[in-house]
């Protein structure tokens, strides 16, 4: 077992599994956000539940934060190691001839997503934490929709939001299907699975962007 922790393959599994976990979270997050397009009321109810249920707040939320921290820290560690495995670079290298742009630039797409997460935390999570646990303001189960729509007023923020999700799309286009390969799944279902991951990787970010524009235009 100790070998598993140190080995390059263990790191590979860890990246894959943390990535898959984040994808599941992403889907859940998307579902809730998407509700806001249809119903302010339901959106507020669900948000309230997520924001105040102890299991979500004290169990799932820490796991999620750990997952996020782990995935990007490990991503940087791996990138550092990988760069160190070739000290002298090629004078000419045709990476595009044998691999996708996405697969070669996970560190950059990841970095953009990370910077977006910074903004996202600044916009939503820190105020939330402040509201609930520091200032301990009175509970208002109907504040969520308003708060959200407010964030989508600025065209710059919406623009950055959209760009970030394009990078998330690029990140997912390689990362999602790649994580199955990492944990050893490569068989007759791979082709179908790959089509599914591509569809997912495009539709979900596009959905998020749609939501942003929707609220921006309807605000």
């Amino acid at each position: 077992m100790s070998g598993l922790i140190k080995s390059s393959l263990a790191r590979k599994y860890a990246m894959a599994l943390s990535g898959l976990f984040l994808i599941v979270f992403l889907l859940q997050h998307f579902t809730i956000n998407f509700i806001s397009v249809f119903s302010e009321e339901v959106f507020n109810q669900v948000s309230h539940f997520m924001g105040n249920n102890p299991a979500v707040q004290f169990l799932l939320q820490p796991i999620l934060i750990f997952g996020v921290l782990f995935h990007f820290t490990m991503g940087f560690v791996l990138e550092y190691q990988n760069r160190n495995s070739r000290s002298q670079n090629y004078a000419e290298n045709k990476g595009f001839a044998n691999s996708s742009w996405m697969s070669r630039n996970m560190i950059w797409s990841g970095a953009v997503v990370l910077s977006f997460l910074g903004l996202h935390f600044y916009d939503f999570w820190f105020p939330e934490m402040n509201y609930k646990y520091i200032e301990v303001l009175p509970e208002d189960p109907n504040r969520y929709f308003e708060e959200m729509v407010h964030k989508f007023v600025s065209p710059f923020r919406v623009g950055f939001y959209a760009v970030s999700f394009v990078f998330l799309m690029l990140h997912l286009l390689h990362g999602f299907s790649s994580s199955f390969q990492s944990v050893g799944l490569n068989n007759k279902y791979t082709k179908g699975l790959k089509s599914f991951t591509i569809a997912f990787s495009i539709l979900i970010p596009v959905g998020f962007i749609y939501i942003a524009f929707f609220h921006h235009l309807n605000a």
Partner: protein
């Protein structure tokens, strides 16, 4: 054909290297790339310049000795061939061709375009075998029937020639395709299953110690592999390793 060759020159492992340019004339399109290099070396010798060192031996694409990173790709622009089977008809008259050694810290340059791939050997020493004595006192070859599909897949994995193009092409200089091909060959055959768990653990451990990078599934190795070794082997090794680790 007339060509301009930009070639990496490095006197030995510790020396500083640099790119040098050499023009070459009257190259026939029917020449193999290495034959073109022979012509260049003959010209350099006659001019009193040290010939370019490069590894080569069988010149029929099977020994795995030739390497070279040509115009940004391992074994050059053609697919499913080694450099010795790459022919000059794949290039244009007047073209500038960049020729570098396979680069990875685990493959130190020996001289010019020749690199030291003994890391691959050491990975094999760690477990690339079936522990059966060569006494000849084994059971009859047909005693264990092997499913044709498995036998064919094991063969496909076993066709790896150990050239290192996978490492050279990988942006992370990862050796996963090479190691997984060997692990897969044995994992697919009943003879190799007995010690499959130890094998994969030991070979991966040695691979990590040699300083290869981590696999990020870019798939470049599979595309550049002159023998078309499939990424499925890497997935198989990932499975094998997980199962072996779980066992303890």
């Amino acid at each position: 054909m007339n060509l301009n060759l930009k070639i990496w020159r490095q006197a030995n492992t510790t020396a500083q290297g640099k790119m040098e340019t050499y023009p070459i004339e009257n190259v026939s399109p029917d020449m193999s790339f290495l034959e073109m290099m022979d012509v260049l070396n003959e010209q350099l010798i006659n001019k009193g310049i040290d010939p370019v060192a490069f590894d080569h031996d069988c010149r029929e694409g099977i020994c795995g000795m030739c390497s070279m990173y040509i115009n940004g790709e391992a074994h050059g622009p053609d697919r499913l061939v080694t450099t010795c089977q790459l022919h000059m008809r794949k290039f244009k008259d007047g073209e500038t061709i960049t020729i570098e050694p396979f680069r990875a810290n685990a493959f130190p340059v020996v001289k010019d375009l020749a690199v030291d791939r003994s890391a691959f050997d050491r990975i094999q020493h760690a477990g690339g075998f079936v522990s059966v004595n060569t006494s000849g006192n084994t059971q009859d070859a047909n005693a264990i029937p092997i499913n044709k599909h498995d036998a064919d897949n094991a063969f496909d994995a076993a066709t790896c020639i150990g050239c290192g193009a996978c490492v050279a092409s990988c942006k992370n200089a990862s050796a996963m395709l090479f190691v997984s091909a060997k692990v897969s060959q044995y994992a697919l055959l009943p003879q190799g299953k007995v010690e499959a768990a130890d094998r994969v653990l030991n070979m991966v451990k040695q691979m990590d110690e040699e300083g290869f990078g981590n696999c990020t599934n870019t798939g470049a190795c599979e595309v550049e592999c002159p023998k078309g070794i499939s990424l499925e082997n890497i997935a198989r090794m990932n499975r094998e390793y997980l199962a072996a680790s779980a066992k303890g």
